[in-house]
């Protein structure tokens, strides 16, 4: 599914290198957690995968099912099935949430040569998924994320993921800013989407999220590289010992 080889990337504006030879393979159907201290490049990795223009890839490759992602714009990557759940979903005044959801879904369908969804079919689809995430239709009438609580924003991200049915979902600190109840709702939303042909990269600081979303593999990232990989037990070890050893070692 996702294959990253020797990825180097820097911030375009100041040339600062953030990713320094990162390797990662996520087979289809698996959930990989990436943990690591602040500043290790976790969020940068998620932005580089999604195609944010502020970063420049200087070396290495990223492929999704054998296809080169780095050649594609952010919108094209999304149409190929890459989804990034933002750590800080943006508030965009004046853009209705429903309008936005419909635009995203239909843009992806068009890019894939599928027909647009009719309004009644779209409404039905949104209603079903929103109900499961305890998102009220009232909330969806408002401008995108404007006035949403932290938990509502994150649920809205998962709703988008559920509607778009990506191949590769990258969750960037989806647990931050969530209380226990919201964490459960969001995790259940993610778990419902687990399937043999969908992969997840879950970025988090804390082991807590991984109690709800069980990873197949846990990676430790430090200073722009994956420095250790292991099973779910690695997350527990990190929780107990902290990241100090990786900050110094790397």
């Amino acid at each position: 599914m996702l294959s990253i080889k020797n990825l180097h990337a820097r911030i375009e504006e100041n040339g600062q290198e953030i990713l320094k030879g990162l390797d990662l393979d996520v087979p289809a159907g698996q959930v990989h957690a990436i943990m690591g201290p602040n500043g290790s490049g976790k969020s940068t990795l998620s932005y580089v995968l999604a195609g944010k223009e502020d970063y420049e890839v200087t070396d290495g490759s990223v492929t999704l099912d054998g296809e080169d992602l780095l050649e594609l714009g952010a919108d094209e990557r999304a149409a190929k099935g890459v989804f990034l759940a933002f750590q800080y979903p943006l508030e965009i005044p004046g853009v209705g949430t429903m309008t936005f959801l419909k635009a995203t879904l239909n843009a992806q369908r068009r890019a894939r040569g599928e027909g647009e969804l009719s309004t009644p079919d779209f409404m039905k689809l949104v209603k079903k998924n929103a109900d499961e995430l305890e998102i009220s239709m009232e909330m969806l009438k408002r401008s995108l994320n404007v006035g949403f609580s932290g938990g509502e924003k994150k649920r809205n991200e998962i709703l988008q993921m559920a509607l778009l049915q990506p191949k590769l979902a990258i969750l960037d600190e989806t647990d931050s800013g969530l209380d226990i109840d919201a964490l459960k709702v969001v995790s259940e939303g993610v778990n419902r989407l687990r399937s043999p042909d969908r992969s997840f990269v879950v970025i988090t600081h804390y082991q807590r999220l991984l109690n709800y979303i069980k990873p197949d593999v846990v990676h430790v990232m430090s200073k722009g590289r994956i420095v250790r990989s292991g099973g779910p037990e690695l997350a527990l070890e990190l929780e107990a010992n902290g990241y100090a050893e990786y900050v110094e070692a790397a």
Partner: protein, 431 residues
């Protein structure tokens, strides 16, 4: 106005003098009014050293003065009828082709309409009301209109009349390059309510000049919506002057999308206490176009409220000007005025000139103004693109969001839909 010696006249200035000399004998109405008005421009057009025209140097921008439009023929009238916009909302109640009123529909009960040409012929008493809204007669756009205008419309809404359906005044240009002048007076008597849609459309490199005056008495409720969607080669000078009585309500929305050079002047005078006005505008420029909105709000009464909200979207090498001034006179205590102007700049080569001004002589008022210029927020763009929306579509969504709150001031849903179509059309035409 200015004392600069200018021995050489531009081609446009020379042509205007020639036109006025040739036409004045045949123009209707009081000749001395026309002579006086033309006196303001006989020495020349305003230029960048005249403060109000600093950002729109009419002398430099107006390359020629097109001949006065002849009376439209049958074919032109039919073509104009077929092309008038907003057909789904309201067919034209008054159709003006090349400045001439060619069709006047049956008015709703409580509204009286007279063509200006007829009013001149009959020496109609309403002619005495011209200029009563208080806009300066020596303003170049107003002066030219007063000097050359021969047709238009006089509307009276009788006291207490609630006119539910909007009245649509359609100004359509047809044929080859000409100058078209039109003047409208709207008199709304006490307690009456009215909505007017003013549309300006057509094809050809024309020069148009319209002057609309609103005299709204006490306790009136008036909404004026204007779409300027003329040919991209036209020069459009327009003035909207309004005088409001006590406890009145006014909403205006101006959408400026067409023309190579357009200047929309808006003058508002609060003549009675406890009145509210909401003044809104959107301008969409591109190419080498130059769109100007100049606003003057005169708070001359107690406890009035004004809200000014103007948004400009600029693309290409275009220039967009918004200058707005709120004057609060000494007796206008408890004035509450808030003016916001925002420009969204989509290209490297565009220029936005925003000039907010407050001049306050009363000591118990709340006034604020703000101005912003910005490009599209890159983070917003990335968020939309990361969901699969192509860049141009994502930009379109964000541009529509930018002007959304101004559009919201248009309450009529069908009309709002038509404006969406205009903005959509502009967005599609972007490179």
């Amino acid at each position: 106005m200015n004392s600069i010696v200018r021995p050489i006249k531009t081609a446009a200035e020379t042509a205007l003098v020639e036109q006025f000399t040739a036409a004045k004998a045949s123009l209707p109405g009081d000749k001395s009014v026309r002579e006086t008005a033309f006196g303001a421009v006989v020495e020349g057009l305003p230029h960048r050293r005249v403060e109000e025209w600093k950002y729109t140097d009419l002398r430099a921008l107006m390359k020629d003065a097109k001949p006065l439009a002849a009376a439209p023929g049958k074919a032109e009238i039919e073509a104009a009828k077929a092309s008038a916009p907003f057909a789904s909302v309201r067919k034209p109640d008054a159709l003006l082709v090349n400045g001439a009123l060619v069709e006047l529909g049956a008015m709703p009960k409580g509204v009286e309409a007279v063509s200006l040409a007829k009013a001149y012929a009959d020496n109609h008493p309403l002619l005495a009301k011209f200029g009563e809204a208080g806009a300066p007669g020596d303003n170049a756009a107003i002066a030219l209109n007063t000097a050359f205008v021969s047709d238009g419309l006089l509307l009276t809404v009788e006291a207490g009349a609630k006119i539910d359906e909007p009245l649509h005044l359609a100004f359509v240009q047809q044929g080859a390059g000409h100058a078209a002048y039109a003047r409208v007076l709207i008199l709304v008597e006490e307690g009456a309510s009215l909505t007017v849609i003013e549309s300006h459309t057509g094809k050809g490199a024309h020069q148009t000049n319209s002057y609309v005056e609103l005299l709204a008495a006490d306790k009136t409720d008036v909404t004026l919506f204007k779409l300027q969607n003329e040919d991209l080669a036209t020069q459009h000078l327009a003035t909207l002057a309004m005088k409001l009585g006590a406890e009145a309500n006014l909403t205006t929305a101006n959408v400026s999308r067409g023309s190579a050079l357009a200047r929309q002047q808006i003058f508002v005078k609060f003549e009675g206490d406890n009145t509210k006005a909401s003044l809104n505008g959107i301008s969409l420029s591109g190419g080498n176009r130059h769109l100007d909105t100049t606003l003057f709000v005169d708070h001359a009464s107690f406890n009035c409220e004004s809200r000014e909200q103007f948004k400009q979207v600029l693309d290409g090498e275009s220039r967009s000007v918004f200058q707005g001034k709120i004057l609060v006179r000494q007796n206008a205590q408890k004035t509450d005025g808030r003016m916001m102007m925002r420009a969204l700049m989509l290209s490297e080569g565009c220029e936005a000139d925003l000039k907010p001004e407050l001049e306050i002589y009363a000591d118990d008022v709340q006034c604020a103004h703000g101005a912003t210029c910005a490009a599209i927020e890159e983070d917003y763009l990335f968020y939309l693109m990361a969901r699969g929306i192509p860049k141009k579509d994502a930009e379109a969504i964000l541009i529509e969001a930018f002007i959304d709150d101004v559009l919201e001031t248009v309450e009529d849903e069908a009309l709002r839909g038509e404006i969406h179509a205009v903005t959509h059309d502009w967005l599609q035409a972007r490179d």
